[in-house]
């Protein structure tokens, strides 16, 4: 405790001789802009600002607006497009949204993470192609990934899905690693990472939809009977209360998956950014008032980063486990009549 206090004092002392720091940062810090700039999608990948000059990677904009048009974000004015109040591309003359399939920050992040994931898993698979797993213990990448794959497959998928788990384990494993790698890359603060991918509702929506189709396209007869004509007193089915609830349940399950992943990852990013923003927020209040929150912010930031590492894993795990449970529910064998 005393040592921590000493370090804090030393940090403060270092800050004291530079009273001009606050003045340099110039205009008032806009917290909302800072946070939303980081967590939302954009047409360029902003890396940092050096001496008022922004360093950002411009990304290709692709719109279908009476024909396919591809142009760099920096040349949007020349192509006849501008940004609206929500920061989206609109036609400069009509101010209407075109069909916008631009490679945004999140899309590029997705591509980078996906390539990384595919390479990692294929390298791991290559080890098994080239070695006899009966004679050699996995080493290198295979040694790293195998325990995780086995844990997810045997402890989560097999237990939740039941005897037919082998058919679904490729999807569920893909979902797990896809979410995990995007979560982890989201924690990285600089270029290849840092995009708030799994904290974007479009991404989690697609993940949830995949699970939805996995559940409902391969559900067995018993599953559909439980939805449309469950074993409840007839009056609950004559006025179709139960079927309506069950059909609603079909959609609320993936909906909860979507919201859970989205909200958790978004909240993590916002928390982390808010704590870091403390430093900039107090920068105009002078060195002493800036120093102590900075110190706290750094400590708390480290703590939150560790927490986010944990959350990155837990959310991928939970998504996979719940998807597996939903798939398992769609494959239950009818129980022997109990009533």
């Amino acid at each position: 405790m005393r040592r921590a206090f000493g370090i804090a004092l030393a940090l403060l002392a270092m800050l004291l001789p530079s009273p001009s720091m606050a003045a340099e940062s110039g205009s008032a810090f806009n917290m909302t802009e800072f946070i939303f700039g980081h967590i939302s999608d954009s047409y360029e990948w902003h890396i940092t600002t050096v001496k008022g000059k922004e360093i950002a990677i411009p990304l290709p904009c692709i719109v279908i607006d009476g024909g396919l048009k591809v142009f760099s974000f920096h040349d949007r004015e020349a192509a006849g497009y501008t940004l609206n109040d929500n920061g989206k591309l609109v036609n400069a003359s009509t101010l209407e949204r075109p069909l916008d399939i631009s490679i945004t920050k999140n899309v590029l992040g997705l591509i980078i993470d996906s390539v990384l994931l595919v390479v990692l898993i294929l390298l791991c698979a290559r080890w098994y192609r080239r070695h006899d797993p009966l004679k050699e213990a996995p080493s290198g990448l295979a040694g790293l990934l195998e325990p995780v794959i086995v844990m997810i497959e045997q402890d989560v998928i097999k237990d939740a899905v039941g005897p037919e788990y082998e058919k679904y384990s490729p999807y569920l494993l893909t979902a797990f690693f896809f979410i995990l790698i995007n979560n982890l890359m989201g924690i990285l603060p600089v270029f290849p990472g840092g995009a708030n991918i799994t904290g974007n509702i479009a991404v989690t929506l697609v993940m949830a939809l995949f699970t939805f189709f996995m559940v409902n396209l391969f559900g067995n007869k018993h599953y559909w009977k439980e939805i449309l004509w469950p074993d409840v007193p007839v009056f609950l089915k004559a006025i179709p209360i139960m079927p309506v609830i069950e059909i609603l349940g079909m959609f609320t399950k993936p909906f909860s998956l979507m919201i859970r992943l989205f909200a958790n990852m978004l909240a993590g990013h916002i928390m982390l950014l808010s704590v870091i923003a403390l430093i900039f927020l107090t920068a105009s209040m002078g060195p002493v008032l800036n120093g102590s929150p900075s110190f706290v912010a750094v400590l708390f930031g480290i703590f939150l980063d560790c927490l986010e590492l944990l959350v990155a894993f837990i959310q991928a795990y939970v998504f996979t486990m719940l998807s597996a449970v939903f798939i398992g529910l769609a494959h239950q064998k009818p129980e022997t009549e109990t009533n």
Partner: protein
Amino acid sequence: MSLITPDFGLLFWMVVIFGVVFLILAKFGFPIITKAVRKRSDHIAESLRAAEEARLNLERFAEDQNRLVERARAERAEILKSATEERNALISKAHEEASAEAAKVLQAAREEIEAERQLAKRELKAEVSALSVAVAEKIVRKELEKNEEQKALLDKFVDEAVNGQVN
């Protein structure tokens, strides 16, 4: 860009990207790994089972061996016992035979002795009778020399005896 309204562009790309990743990994990635891992865990389970079986076999084998040894020991004891019995029987039989033989020999000796005695008795009788006859003859001859008459009587007797023998 609003937080809770999914953006179409991102939706589109996410479907494409996740779809491609899923197809690649589901075809070339995870099944190979999980199959290999499953194969290995099956192999391990099989090996464990085989080891257990081998252990049981070994145990059974040791048991068999023990039983064999036990049986051999019992057999040996049995053989020894019967040999002793046989020996004893032989000895006692020999004893019996010997004593029977001895008894027979004794009996025979006794009988012979008896026969010898009878013979001796008879010979002694004959001797005595011959002696007495000789004595009587001498006496009779002495008497007869005295008197012719008596000699005639004697001759008569002798004739009678001869005739009697012829008859």
